[in-house]
């Protein structure tokens, strides 16, 4: 089963614009992570936000977490063509010893 659901499914923007992707989940979580997948196979970890955190920054990335709404957003500022990829959120359950469960992802296209 998939815990997270990303929104939108696909997003196309011009280089330099900001990109915002959202993730909703169903059960209480330990933490929420965002991953990136280029047109290839391996996923790369971008950022982790803990359940007691509300916002986190890493370079051009900004992640927010609202546990009351069971949702998170990933903002990429000043996007570049190289940001073109699929982005996934992943959660693990507060109940412990559970695997990371991924959403279906958002496909981001940044047009130069």
């Amino acid at each position: 089963s998939q815990q997270g659901e990303e929104d939108p499914q696909a997003l196309s923007i011009q280089e330099g614009e900001n990109a915002t992707m959202n993730c909703s989940y169903k059960t209480s979580i330990n933490n929420l992570q965002w991953y990136r997948q280029n047109s290839g196979r391996g996923l790369v970890h971008l950022i982790l936000i803990r359940s007691n955190e509300r916002e986190k920054h890493s370079g051009r990335l900004r992640v927010t977490l609202d546990t009351s709404k069971k949702s998170s957003s990933l903002l990429i500022t000043a996007s570049r063509a190289a940001d073109t990829a699929s982005y996934f959120c992943a959660t693990d359950s507060l109940s412990g010893n559970t695997p990371l469960v991924f959403g279906k992802g958002t496909r981001l296209s940044v047009i130069a």
């Binding site: 330990n30 991953y35 196979r41 982790l48 559970t98 990371l100």
Partner: protein, 114 residues
């Protein structure tokens, strides 16, 4: 090793044959995950190993799928009597442990059943 290694990178097999996919996790990582990804889709959880605990097999789609992890390190995912719907990219990941840690992914094995 430097990262998670999966082999083979690509595998073409005939329907009905058995296949074995291998994953070498990062040394010292106690958690190991297998996922399946069909074209353009999200990651479907298959199985999760954490230390010496019993594996979480809740994601395995049928009894044709099985996995083991020997010595807390290398893992093998076996698919018996492959079907065309098994065609997908099979991804393995490892992490230091559950909770508060990032997962490192291999490049996957692309399985094509013809």
């Amino acid at each position: 090793g430097a990262g998670v290694s999966q082999s083979p990178s690509n595998k073409v097999t005939e329907k009905g044959k058995d296949v074995e996919l291998r994953c070498d996790p990062i040394s010292g990582h106690t958690a190991l995950y297998w996922y399946r990804q069909s074209l353009g889709q999200g990651l479907e959880f298959l199985i999760y190993f954490q230390g010496n605990s019993a594996p979480d097999k809740s994601g395995l789609p049928s009894d044709r799928f099985s996995a083991e992890r020997t010595g807390g390190s290398v893992s093998t995912l076996t698919i018996q009597r492959t079907q065309q719907e098994d065609s997908a990219v099979y991804l393995c990941a490892s992490s230091l442990g559950q909770g508060f840690t990032e997962a490192f992914f291999g490049q996957g094995t692309r399985l094509t059943v013809v």
